[in-house]
């Protein structure tokens, strides 16, 4: 309805899949390497239409991500608290308590793409490759 009110002829067709891949964890949490994936923008100097997935050192998490171009409820809330969408401090505390083995050396940005093809053919495979290189066991994905 919202899309039509904007004057588009058709509703946006969200990705739809009946089959769901599923890989239960292979090791206990205490031995797991954990990666974090976000849609919040790390490098806003790259224009939105050409933004691609990328990975960044976990030791260089920005104090603030750019969320201005993402679709969230700007009337009701705000994104001034990074932990509310990228809980890195909570995860670091868990790592120190040895709840899991370690945070992966990189975290990952995936753009919210209008084109599902870009996500399926380019962005998701890139992030997956990086996670495999980092020997990631568990990934927590937090889309805004």
């Amino acid at each position: 309805m919202y899309y039509r009110a904007l004057g588009f002829q058709k509703d946006y067709a969200w990705a739809s899949h009946d089959d769901i891949p599923f890989s239960p964890p292979k090791i206990p949490l205490s031995q797991a390497t954990v990666a974090l994936v976000t849609t919040a923008v790390v490098d806003a100097s790259i224009p939105k239409p050409v933004r691609e997935a990328n990975s960044y050192p976990i030791v260089d998490v920005p104090d603030h991500f750019d969320t201005s171009e993402l679709s969230w409820d700007k009337e009701t809330t705000h994104t001034k608290d990074r932990e509310s969408y990228f809980p890195i401090n909570d995860l670091r505390a868990r790592e120190l308590r040895q709840e899991f083995k370690a945070l992966a050396p990189r975290f990952h940005f995936v753009p919210t793409e209008y084109s599902q093809r870009h996500t399926i053919e380019t962005d998701a495979p890139l992030i997956t490759r990086h996670c495999l290189e980092d020997a990631v066991d568990l990934a927590i994905l937090i889309p805004l």
Partner: protein, 121 residues
Amino acid sequence: MTARTLEAAGIATVVIGSALDILRTAGTPRVIFNDLPLGNPVGKPFDRDMQHRTVSAAFELLFSAEAPGAVKTLPHQWSTQDAWRENFMAVRAEDAATLEALGRATQATRLENKAKGLFRR
């Protein structure tokens, strides 16, 4: 959809989100659902207890889910008032002209970007 690719490669995933219908339709392997306004999927801003509970629930679901498409809904609430649900992406008669203008502007920007070569191939 990134979760699906990771999972197919043998990495267990959990998505923490507030847009349950989209995540369900997309075929997401495991979902922690916080029924909050879009923007703070982990919990209300500066509510460290809520955020901590959400992350704990995510780890629990990673190990407890026995079948794909597992969804755990957390009992967190934004407030006792539900007005925020009515407001987000609302289509009201009085806003019709504004929304139409917004749509036209969006399409114009897309075309401009295309002309400038600002698009992914």
